[in-house]
Amino acid sequence: MSTATVKTKKITLRTADNHDFEVDEAIAMEFGTVRTFFDDNPDASDEPIPLLNVSSKCLSTIIEYCQSLLAFRARDSSSSVEDEAKAYDEELVKNQDNELLKEMILAANYLNMKDLLDMLNQAVADRIKNKSVEYVRRFFGIENDYSPEEEAEVRAQNEWAFEGVDPDDD
């Protein structure tokens, strides 16, 4: 019995900084925006698809993520595989600095990739957990536009009324 070589269709993606990435169709189809593109343009030629809001650094990480995602899916759905997949996700975000993490979120949002977006958002939430307001501002690069009085008022309301749960309230 001969094994036929399946020719996987390749799709070219062009990043914001004008790099072209050639990927398997299966991977490109993980991107919601690409799927929509082909839905809207069924006769699309093999021209590169422009991803205006995604840098090459981001895209290469995202492609890596998709490749592993597809590999994990191809295996069974046992809990040990799930654990491995989770560990892979954690490793992926662990080494990213805050800037890249934020870029990835914007990219994942632009590319309409819900699972990746969920995972990245959780990573960001974990990074700002229990941190001060100043830390959160620095993390996101946001300038404080409260006047001191306004800020004091919100702070008082937060702390006096809408506080954290008591340690003995299970």
């Binding site: 949002n109 958002n121 001060s132 937060n158 809408f162 506080e163 309230d169």
Partner: protein, 572 residues
């Protein structure tokens, strides 16, 4: 430059769930405040008088889940007269008038009326969850309204409430169309309910995970319920009495064996020890066991049961288990995180009670222990020092020696050093209750070492104002301080009045503070409500500033003095 569009921010905020983190997010900048407030769904209000329902609604229009706490903690010891306050009605009325789609309401130590339960049941189409803990003021008629009108009810959880019981008919008010129940707990009710209605309700609730029965539900009904709900994760038995040689008991044994998901077990409100063997098959999977309502289980019965429970993480028992029994717990339950030992006989001579020996055994055998409530005959410094060394991870440490000013029986010394060791070793300690003979020294230690302490309960302790000052000056994260029968007076009260704006509340009863001292405090700090609570006969006598105040409760508030205070409460 990274620019996050609003919808991406909203999406990120979905993953920020803790109240503290959401509060931080709201302070980042004004546009974040706006996005955050529209997307916050869960709100916890630790003191219902700190803010008004109108301001809650104005800030969080997307509110789905509200937790409210009313009376101060010492209300549990009957120190707060009924009708003091904590009425939930204004909250429900305001929410009902607004467009808030309330789905969950959790109340602790609040006064709840039938009228407002009915209003609640009719005002929110998607209402799913009602949890009432230590509440009062309602009857079974109010429960009937909830059962009848909340079409998508998932949770009805009643814990330790004082309910006036008119009839058990309320349970029959769940309509046939109600199939959404996930959790039903009516263990605190005393009256009979229609057992057939209960069976049918359970039978049509495929998602039921938690079921806690009251003592009027007999064992053979329990068997039928378990046959219908083998998927239960949390079970509270009602009455657990039967003839172990009977057919019904055999059926129960098989029913229990089918319940492979039960992880949490409580109840045994009436119990025949000879029936406990039916429980053994599910013991190896239990993570929570509550035998504190089962005084009928004495001698070695609790121990026999616990020996099968190797995975236990939380254990609530009565002190009749004794030190030896605690030794068995220590050698069996290596995963134990929380232990509560309740007094079976708070006023008696208690040779059944536990001592410091039991606690030491537990600390040695259960390294993961982080939460303790321990009513005991006696305690020694040596034992506390050992416990502190063995278990540095305590988050909650509540020790209640039945004779409240008992010294270390071995040395006759106060227990200052023992508690000092606890606060020094347990760097994450958030809640502490002291007892035994204690001097100002213990408060010096607490002020020095208890950096994460949020709640401190003191009775019959200390020598001078210095004691209280050590705590107020040292514990930067202190939120709730409750003191009874201690020699702390105006000097301690007034030294740092600004401190009380950083705390949720202060309770002082039978201490040395005077009316004049409280008045001075109220004058200096308009952002605090300083309440003097009288027993009704006292009103005429206490206009002298030099008079000691029997009960004072003060708290910070954003909305000024409450308008619902009864006659016996004077807000300065």
């Amino acid at each position: 430059m990274n620019y996050f569009p609003d919808e991406v921010l909203e999406y990120v905020f979905n993953f920020i769930t803790s109240h503290n983190d959401r509060n931080s997010v709201s302070l980042v900048c004004k546009s974040w405040y706006k996005i955050e407030r529209y997307s916050r769904q869960r709100v916890f209000i630790g003191n219902c008088y700190s803010i008004s329902p109108e301001r809650l609604i104005a800030r969080f229009p997307g509110l789905k889940s509200l937790t409210l706490k009313g009376k101060p903690h010492f209300a549990d010891f009957n120190l707060v007269p009924n009708d003091w306050g904590g009425f939930v009605c204004p909250w429900i009325q305001a929410l009902a008038k607004s467009r808030i789609g309330l789905e969950e309401l959790r109340l602790k130590r609040m006064v709840v009326s039938d009228d407002c339960l009915e209003l609640l049941s009719k005002s929110f189409l998607n209402f799913k969850s009602l949890v009432l803990v230590s509440c009062e003021g309602f009857t079974t008629d109010g429960l009937a309204a909830i059962a009848a009108n909340c079409r998508f009810l998932r949770e009805l959880d009643l814990q330790e409430n004082e309910v006036e019981e008119h009839s058990g008919h309320w349970l029959s008010c769940f309509p046939e169309s109600c199939t959404s129940l996930v959790s039903l707990n009516f263990a605190c009710l005393k009256g009979e309910i229609n057992l057939g209605a209960l069976e049918r309700l359970v039978a049509r609730s495929p998602n039921l995970k938690s079921l806690r029965l009251n003592r009027t539900v007999p064992l053979d009904t329990l068997q039928k319920l378990l046959m219908r709900a083998p998927q239960l994760v949390d079970l509270g038995t009602g009455s657990y009495v039967h003839d172990p040689s009977s057919e019904a008991f055999n059926k129960l044994e098989s029913a229990i064996q089918r319940c492979k998901s039960i992880r949490s077990l409580s109840g045994f409100l009436e119990v025949a020890p000879c029936c406990m063997s039916a429980i053994y098959p599910i013991c190896p999977n239990l993570t929570f066991l509550n035998l504190s309502y089962a005084p009928g289980l004495h001698g070695i019965e609790p121990t026999k049961l616990i020996q099968h429970c190797r995975k236990l993480q939380r254990l609530w028992i009565l002190d009749c288990i004794g030190d030896k029994g605690l030794g068995v717990v220590a050698s069996t339950c290596k995963e134990l995180q929380e232990l509560r030992v309740f007094p079976s006989d708070p006023f008696g001579a208690g040779n059944a009670a536990v001592t410091e020996e039991g606690l030491v055994l537990i600390s040695a055998g259960c390294p993961k222990l982080n939460s303790l409530l321990y009513f005991c005959q006696q305690m020694t410094n040596a034992a506390l020092i050992t416990v502190a060394k063995n278990c540095p991870n305590f988050i909650r440490f509540r020790l209640c020696i039945l004779d409240p000013i008992k010294p270390d029986p071995l040395t006759n010394q106060p227990l200052d050093e023992g508690f000092g060791a606890i606060v020094q070793s347990c760097k994450g300690l958030k809640r502490l209750s002291l007892s035994g003979l204690l001097t100002d020294q213990v408060f010096l230690y607490i002020g020095m070492y208890a950096e994460q302490l949020e709640m401190l309960s003191i009775a019959f302790a200390g020598d001078t104002d210095k004691g209280m000052l050590h705590v107020l000056n040292g514990c930067k994260k202190l939120r709730k301080l409750e003191i009874m029968d201690c020699p702390f007076g105006n000097i301690a009260l007034l030294e740092d009045v600004g401190k009380y704006e950083t705390m949720r509340s202060l309770w002082m009863s039978s201490c040395e503070v005077t009316l004049g001292g409280c008045k001075t405090l109220a004058e200096k700090m308009p952002s605090l409500s300083v309440e003097i609570i009288y027993e009704s006969e006292q009103m005429e006598f206490c206009l002298d500033d030099r008079q000691k105040v029997e009960k004072m409760y003060l708290y910070r508030t954003l909305v000024g003095h409450r308008k619902d205070a009864p006659e016996f409460v004077w807000i300065l």
